[in-house]
Point group: C2
């Protein structure tokens, strides 16, 4: 199935240097896809030239003069920059010119613009950010990762539905299991919001596993882990910090002296395999869920490989009817 | 300075097998310390015999017939088991026979019993659990780790004061830096409770760094990281799960085939150094803060080395006047 993705080429820490290379690799890999490259002509054309990406029907250029800074206030980006590459990319989804958009830019701005331009799906109060993480058994989807800091139980149910539909769209599982992130397995554990959310989830008709704890995320206990955005963001950032520390310690130990450096040479095949397995670039591309359009947020520091994964994830979500799945499930919930 | 520690010898997953060995090693290392071994005579005496620990003035036996199960309801443990090893150990602190107690048993029960028997220090509403974690720069103390799931801003301030006093007692830093765990550095970030807590902390006279994010924990940005018990517990458990996954992946890659196994042999010195640096046993021993007595909780699965660290941490807290420091700082805060 053909699919067209709008790409905010200017966003992220590296801009066109990596977004164009990623788009080029994506188009090579996905023959039925096309992209709209959004941004400044004077930046995109020479970059496309350098990497040998032919601008044409499969990679159309759409000019946008402005740029949203990584630290710009979302409200200001929304009101003041109607010709920014991010805004135009989202507008292209709204108009139907593209079926999804991908940006490595300012998360808050992308959230505000997407919500304003695309609006929410019926029955969904707030967008949520969902990301995939590696686990002992494969991978798991966690949401919300920071869009919502004060959640009511009803919001957690909406996250659960959206997360389950994301997994069914991207992983082709019809009844993904959903865990509620808590500080104990028993139903009586947790704060008031989580306890009430547990009751609602048990009655939701979803494949609700029950409470899960922090370590269940990486154990892969459930396909989806639901939490409020504050907790999810802390869990995600804590994980990033710990992974970075562990990798640093490992490197330092191998660089300690000539003996350990020799050991690193001999251990290279195993270390390469290890690195591949914990490579967070493969997991790049968080979905902004609940909108009337597919929006994928790449990590700001993504390289071309990582950004390509985010584009591919957007294409996959479109092809597998993510929005239709969420809408259908919300209708079902409203009817019940 | 001499110090006497009551040890719940029956608690934890392994009971006397590890608690006695830990006590014995601790006494060898700390010539001014003594312990009271609390539990069943018929379990403690043969175990002490086996490891060559002489029961006498430095290691006195105090019988307690009952045992609190790891999954027992705290309220039931509190009301129904007045002759449990955990309860008697806490009672010994209350009576002054010991200056601190250490248990690897049921956390909820230890919290309930300690709070009931010892009572809170003036100005502190709730106990908090504080633990030390390794960081890129050394280590950092995080609290609360699960005792309090619905916190008001005032509770977070109390946690900040207690955490700072814990660091000054255990690390001999007079003005430890305190970070408030949040989902962004800016003061406007976060949920309502955290925003208000930030305002109060800025006016508290503590060495308040400002907001920190999850990755700052392992970056070692501040000496103390303050959060509510729900968020802290999720961060801690998520870290445990991730560390376990990473270590498993590393082992699997080194065991993949004869070539990688050979690599592991050559890499053994570096891998040993790495293992030592992320050895969570060295960080065992969470402090239950806010009580009128020093109570240290060991991980239930602790081995003798890990449990010994928990005992040593309790002795250190007593010797450096942890309770007096917290009380003095609370008086100062009340006066201000």
């Amino acid at each position: 199935m053909s699919v067209r993705i709008a790409i905010d080429c200017m966003g992220g820490d590296h801009g066109v240097e990596i977004t164009l290379a990623a788009a080029s690799n994506f188009l090579r890999r996905d023959a039925d896809a096309s992209v709209i490259l959004v941004g400044r002509r004077e930046a995109i054309e020479p970059a496309a030239d350098r990497i040998g990406l032919a601008l044409g029907s499969r990679a159309r250029l759409r000019e946008a003069a402005e740029l949203i800074a990584m630290d710009e206030a979302p409200a200001q980006a929304l009101r003041g920059k109607k010709d920014s590459s991010m805004r135009v990319a989202v507008d292209l989804v709204k108009s139907g010119a593209a079926q999804a958009c991908v940006s490595a830019g300012n998360t808050g701005a992308l959230m505000a613009i997407s919500r304003y331009v695309l609006k929410m799906l019926p029955g969904i109060d707030r967008p949520a950010i969902a990301s995939v993480l590696p686990t002992m058994r494969g991978h798991t989807y966690v949401l919300d990762l920071g869009a919502n800091v004060d959640c009511a139980p009803e919001h957690l149910i909406q996250f659960a539905i959206m997360g389950a539909m994301l997994v069914s769209a991207l992983e082709h599982r019809e009844r993904p299991s959903v865990g509620l992130l808590n500080i104990g397995e028993e139903a009586i554990k947790g704060n008031e919001v989580v306890k009430r959310a547990g009751e609602l989830l048990r009655a939701s008709g979803l494949n609700f596993y029950g409470n899960v704890e922090g370590d269940d995320i990486y154990r892969g206990t459930t396909d989806v882990v639901v939490c409020d955005g504050f907790v999810g963001n802390v869990a995600l950032k804590t994980s990033e910090g710990l992974a970075q520390m562990i990798v640093t310690f490992l490197r330092e130990e191998f660089e300690r002296n000539w003996l350990t450096r020799l050991g690193a040479l001999a251990a290279a095949p195993a270390l390469r395999g290890f690195k591949r397995r914990i490579d967070h670039r493969a997991y790049n591309g968080a979905s902004l869920l609940g909108l009337r359009g597919v929006v994928v947020k790449s990590h700001g520091s993504a390289d071309a490989y990582a950004f390509e994964q985010a584009i591919a994830r957007a294409a996959e979500a479109v092809r597998n009817g993510l929005l239709e799945r969420i809408s259908a499930r919300m209708n079902q919930a409203a009817a019940a």
